[in-house]
Amino acid sequence: MNSKLKKIRNLFDQANDAIVAIDPETGRFLDINNKVSENLGYSREELLTMRVMDIQTKIPDDQAWQKISNEIRQNGSMYITGEHRRKDGTVFPVEVNAKFVVESTDEYIVSVIRDISGRKQAESELQAAQEYLDIILSNMPVGVAILEGPEFRYIRINQVLADLNGLPVEEHIGRTVEEVLPKAAQSILPNLRKVFKNGEAILKREFSIRLPSNPGKEVNLVDWHFPIAVDGRIKAVGAIIMDVTERRRSEKEIKKQHEQLVKANNELSDYHKNLEKLVEERTTKLNEEILERKMAEVKFSGLLHSAPDAMVITNDEGNIELVNKQTEKLFGYTREELIGKRVEYLMPERFRGKHPDFRNDYIESPEVREMGTNLELFGQGKDGSEFRIDVSLSPMNIGKDKLIIASLRDVTERIDVEKKLKLSEKRLSLIFESVAEILYYISVEPDECYYFLSVNPAFLKATGLTEDQIVGKRVEEVIPETTIRRVLDSYKKSIKEKSIVRWEETTVYPVGKKTGVISIAPIFNEKGICTHLVGSVHDITERKQAEEEIMKSEERFRNLIEQSPLAIEILTPDGKISNVNDSWMRLWGINETETAHVLESYNMITDPQIQELGIRPLVEKAFAGEEVVLPPVKYSGDQTSKDYGLDIASRTVWVQCHLYSVKDEYGKIEYVVNTYMDITEVKHAEEDARKQQEIIARTGRTTRMGQLTGSIAHELNQPLTGILSNAQAAELMIKSGKWNDEGLMEIIKDIILDTKRGGAVIRNLRESFREQKGEFLPVDVNDIVNKTTHFLRSEFVTQQVILTKTCASSIPKVNGNWIQLQQVLVNLIMNGLEAMQDTKQNDRKLLITTAHHADEVNVWVEDCGTGIKADRIDKIFELLATWKPGGTGMGLAICNSIIEAHDGKMSVENRSEGGARVGFVLPVLKEGGKT
């Protein structure tokens, strides 16, 4: 042990206070000083095996200790009062200052324990003193009462005054003046109220009254009323009442005699007058002095020592006359050390010089007030430490002496709290300043005038206006005329209905056209009057544009059907053709008039040729809502012409029909789309087939999108649920008035997050719907894998499939079309999921792997399904090869054509451990751009 440590150990052991170090977990004593064993009567060794619960009666068990220990940990330190049990079983009161200490990795609680038996004794002594004062009070020759404001209930009254009031003492206590003295109350109360309100004594007021104790006789009374303050606030009024009837009567007699004497001797009259005056003055003065001395005693002893604040009483020269126990505790001086000293003795050196001037000013115009409002006042203790204090002053005159009572309070802690409050305000305003959401604050003035109080930077950014153009202006001056009517109506509605009002609005600002959802929330004061409005604008300009784009995309889709080189017919649910496109007419080689003729008579369900081929059940299935691919059908031109009474030689074609139905939101079939494929051409020319497939790719993609609506709805409805529930929660909170800024701010934050999440889903959707431009750019296959699996997340969840991705790090880019490659991957993943539909839940695993070998990049998807039958594996990439119920036979064929267009190659194989592995290989993008 080095000398410094030794010194600390010494200090620790010799300290006047008991100090212990405790393990916060178990409550076991880790270390103690000598004072602890001295206080408790246990040896040091004994104590080191004991725990807090063994000696502190307030902490009986582990649970109680855990609670206290956690509180100390959270607050850093804590004051605890309780009792300690000595070895001999006796208990004594203690005050413990516990502090949580963290030293590198060690945590412990250091407690300084103070035996407060002495203080408790002092308190009981004080009580004895008070009882003593009670005896004095009740034996005083004048009536004394203390009335607690503002109803003026008797809390003390002595026998003399009770006799005057004609009721026993017990019947006064706790009752108001009005209850005790219903008749006299009207003349007494105004004075009591005045004293209570102004804090100034009303001294020596003489009046005559008929008392209930003797209503036949009018008595003369003199009363004194003075305020009694606790903690600087007036709590009660003291009353002293003296019966001067006898004196007045004798005075009257004296007067009578005097008048007689005047008659008898004029010369003596002046002398008598003087004498009378002198007698009165001296009597009153004497009485006053006696009473005030007594009252001073009551005040000093009773109130002074029980006051929670330190109280210092000085005379008009600034000398300390009296201090209470709290003063001794706060400054660390004993009473004897302070009495007779200048009050400046309690201040830091630098304040001592100017203080006597302040003090003298106060003596000139004494009043009850706070000292140095907005000034930082400091006290200095005996040990030289400085601390911030609040000081209240009140003057007090006792006889000739002018005294000043100063009550001092240590506010170090309170100031900390104030600082923290300021910090939190600052944080709030930071949020206001930095959120992307537009926020503004409107002041509501009478006559439906609304003024902008403040707006956040997001507001300025969105509108392009400067703060000077908005703040302090009426809303009519800022908001364009076209919308102002609606805005004002919404404000009125929001105030009237006490709820948030929302509407969508498009406004032209200097920065351009903006569409936003505006919310107005009213704020009411405690009287229920709306004083402010909080507005927020959620900018949905982008969303609007997105919606417009989707509409455009739909239009493009319609154009696509009309312009499509593929023959398409739209059939009504009963089998008739309602629309066809130009390609359809080209397919059959007929013109518009002839087409109209066919449209009138043809019905697919009753088509004799379909009946003949035995595929009518398939057609009926299609009209029942299933997606159906009919086997190739050969239409001979001559036969068709005959069937429809056409006098032309139309073509003989091999077609394959792809039927799918379009349903309304209730699942009812609106129409069936029949797409014809001329497979003769597919068979004859590979080159032509490639072109066709690309066209099919487009329709195939939209079909796939249809299958994915479930995923999209899920992805979009999640954030929508969050937004709706949050908004409705906020609405409820505001309606019920149980809200605070922080809570609402959190809700707004969450709403913003969810809105962004929803926006991301829509963007993703838009990308997938966008027309393929066939652009080839450097693409990272890992990026495709990650985004695609994220997009299909809900599919994995629904189908309870565990996804494992193994992506090669730092994979080189390939030259490709992002959307097309994503489509290939979506296809492979969906196939994999479908293949595992009958697999046991725990075995449903999908593996996606990316790898890089030499100048090739590999991507493959593995499932644990049934695998692919050997006789099918070679044909799997052929067009229309399908073995799945409802399959189109196009998915993998399209994938193959896409990968071939990327100069890549698809591969498929069964895994030895079961399931299939399907993937593709692409050439790495060479330096310089082109592959």
């Binding site: 992805e715 649920t721 529930s725 949050n726 019920s736």
Partner: protein, 208 residues
């Protein structure tokens, strides 16, 4: 009885947070869980309340939790929330006793109505359970013979017939019958039949 608790089970933390807020603002006790497993682990389903349950969740799905609670004879009412509800799932859940099947985003009024309905149902369940367990406790005091006689009595047979069936004296049947009435604190056969029905004791099948 303690305040009922609304248990929100949803793997989406934003939905969970928003629903908790909404229900708390409506003055309800809530507790939320990120998965069905977490909820089962706490055994919270023993307290009064109801469950607001997401359908699609990783691990155990909403309908799977419903099935598990049914197997364990937990009768806590369930309200399903689904972001994309399809007809078969909804029908299956409702058939298995779900109080409601709501589609996300769910409107406050719809949700609160369903919750109030669930809590009423839960209370009703509890009353029924208490009643049943009281009856069971009384039935436990019967001897095996008394129990047997009881199953005959509730078929509506006369003492004489029962005696014949069991090959004992009519007097003995009478005594047993008296014990049953006393122990179960009932006065009429009709009352006994109702009581047995409530706890699922079937009348003895008589071979003709």
């Amino acid at each position: 009885m303690s305040e009922p608790t609304i248990f929100i089970i949803d793997d989406d933390s934003s939905v969970r947070q928003a629903l908790t807020r909404l229900l708390m603002a409506a003055g309800m006790n809530t507790e939320s869980f990120a998965s069905a497993k977490d909820f089962l682990a706490t055994e919270k389903y023993k307290v009064p309340g109801c469950i607001v349950l997401d359908v699609k969740m990783p691990g155990m799905t909403g309908p799977e939790l419903q099935e598990k609670l049914r197997e364990d004879e937990v009768q806590m009412p369930i309200i399903f929330l689904s972001a994309h509800g399809d007809v078969p799932t909804t029908a299956k859940a409702m058939k298995k006793g779900a109080v409601d099947f709501l589609t996300k985003p769910v409107d406050r009024d719809n949700l609160l109505t369903a919750i109030h309905l669930s809590l009423a149902k839960d209370l009703e369940n509890q009353i029924l359970r208490t009643e049943r367990s009281a009856i069971h406790n009384r039935i436990k005091t019967l001897t095996p013979r008394e129990h047997e006689i009881m199953t005959y009595v509730i078929t509506g047979m006369l003492n004489k017939q029962i005696a014949g069936e069991l090959n004992i004296s009519e007097e003995t049947v009478k005594i047993h019958r008296g014990h049953v009435k006393k122990k179960l604190a009932i006065v009429s056969v009709a009352e006994l039949v109702r009581l047995c029905e409530k706890v699922g004791i079937a009348p003895h099948k008589i071979c003709q």
